[in-house]
């Protein structure tokens, strides 16, 4: 599984990355968490607002910090 956290490096984006990593660790799912900071790449996903979370190429949340439960549900747990 591949999870991307999109955000140029603002406090909210860092918090999102933290939430996602914790959720992955708690769920025990093998997943790569990747941070995307390049604005052009972020725009390439078509998201109008950061932080955004992309799971296996699918945009899951835009413009907010997701809760840990949300992230776990995207992991299929």
């Amino acid at each position: 599984m591949n999870i991307k956290v999109l955000g140029p490096g603002c406090p909210k984006c860092q918090q999102t990355e933290k939430v996602v990593k914790e959720a992955v660790a708690e769920a025990g799912v093998p997943a790569d968490v990747e941070k995307v900071t390049d604005v052009m790449k972020i725009a390439g996903y078509g998201v109008f607002g950061t932080p955004a979370v992309v799971v296996d190429g699918e945009v899951k949340s835009v413009g907010k910090i997701p809760s840990k439960e949300d992230v776990k549900s995207w992991l299929g747990k």
């Binding site: 725009a43 109008f48 413009g63």
Partner: protein, 390 residues
């Protein structure tokens, strides 16, 4: 922070501590000015202006739906609407720097195109609530108003010019699915939300109400005399509104987002005031940089003074709101009013680091055109303003 950066920082502080002639009268005077200016801000601006403004910014971030605005930036959105929304949406969207650049890149590549994207890019940092309020409070309402109006007009004109100049490659953008933040469930009507924001704006206005000129009669002195009664009455109304229309969770997220802004902005402003005080001093009090330099370079309302001001503003990086104390120092040291507006219009939207990022999104040629348009327009606006208010 890298270890090497930390070392360099410590060495830098050490060298400054070792070699700066702290005993020299000019340095002493500058150091004193830095703290006098800080005190002026603490006494006159923090409680009555900044704190209410932070609460308003927090409320906008939490309660105004971003999704409702963002839909006007899609590829199918009407031209007229997307330009008008882009020019004013800075008030709603740009309170956080997280949003501006990604959103700009998104609008440019997938959405409404280069015109609305550059209009938004310009208006975003230039017209947020905090910046306009602080400008009006500290530098006078004329400059605050000129800044707000100038920013909106500039945004539209810049966007239209960019769309006109780069008309051809606007067609080459990739279309695709776009994702906007979810629209939150609405518990209140638009009227209720507007009343809530209006109450807070009125609190800000009455708490920050300036003493009218001595000898003036009529409404203004009456309002000034009663301003604390009015403020307290408004605070009670705000309390009732919160109790009646808002849930506990909503109040909590409002306070949290306000606190977030305070944490982010207060340290920067603190630093900005200290540096501005040290370099430039309060109006009427000289500090490190001699006043003759400033008045010879930026005084009056010549085309050169305006051009230098807008160029300096475009290249320099101003952390959120710090342009205000810096400008206060410059004005006190003899800068003309026109150049001041030129710097305010070119400053917050552009900076060298920010140009590099914009350059990576839309290329050097377009970035240079964008910056050029803004510098030229700021210069012209400064000359007009300086001529009117001289």
């Amino acid at each position: 922070m890298k270890e090497r950066t930390k070392l360099l920082l410590i060495v830098g502080v050490f060298v400054a501590a070792y070699y700066v002639p702290w005993g020299h009268p000019v340095i002493r005077q500058s150091g004193l000015e830095a703290f006098m200016m800080l005190q002026e801000y603490a006494r006159q601006h923090v409680l009555t202006c900044l704190i209410p403004a932070f609460f308003i910014a927090g409320a906008i971030a939490v309660f105004v739906s971003q999704a409702s605005v963002l839909k006007y930036f899609g590829a199918q959105a009407g031209k007229f609407l997307s330009y008008s929304v882009a020019s004013v949406s800075g008030t709603i969207l740009a309170v956080c720097s997280c949003t501006v650049l990604p959103l700009f890149a998104g609008i440019y590549t997938r959405g409404a195109g280069i015109g609305p994207a550059t209009a938004f890019l310009y208006s975003g940092p230039a017209i947020n609530v905090l910046a306009i309020t602080l400008t009006a409070k500290i530098l006078g309402w004329q400059l605050g108003l000129a800044r707000a109006l100038g920013a909106v007009i500039f945004a539209v004109v810049t966007g239209l010019l960019m769309a006109l100049i780069f008309h051809k490659d606007d067609a080459a953008r990739t279309a695709g699915q776009i994702y906007v933040p979810d629209e939150g469930a609405k518990q209140r009507t638009l009227l209720q939300d507007s009343l809530y924001l209006l109450t807070m704006v009125l609190i800000l206005v009455s708490a920050a109400f300036a003493k009218p000129a001595p000898g003036s009669t009529g409404l203004w002195p009456a309002i000034f005399a009663a301003k604390w009664h009015i403020t307290i009455a408004l605070l009670i109304i705000l309390g009732l509104i919160l109790k009646a229309w808002f849930t506990k969770d909503e109040c909590k997220s409002w306070v949290e987002s306000t606190w977030g802004f305070m944490k982010q902005i207060f340290p920067l402003l603190f630093g900005g005031v200290i540096v501005a005080g040290f370099m430039l001093g309060r109006p009427g009090h000289p500090a490190l940089i001699p006043e003759q330099w400033i008045s010879s370079l930026l005084g009056g309302n010549s085309i050169w003074a305006n051009l230098i001001a807008s160029l300096a503003g475009a290249l320099m990086y101003f952390a959120t709101l710090t342009e205000v104390p810096i400008l206060q120092g410059l004005l006190g040291a003899g800068m003309g009013k026109g150049p001041a507006l030129a710097l305010l219009l070119a400053g917050p939207a552009l900076s060298l680091p920010n140009m590099l990022v914009i350059g990576s999104v839309m290329g050097v040629k377009k970035t240079a055109t964008f910056c050029g348009i803004i510098v030229i327009m700021s210069t012209i606006a400064g000359m007009i303003y300086g001529a009117v208010f001289a």
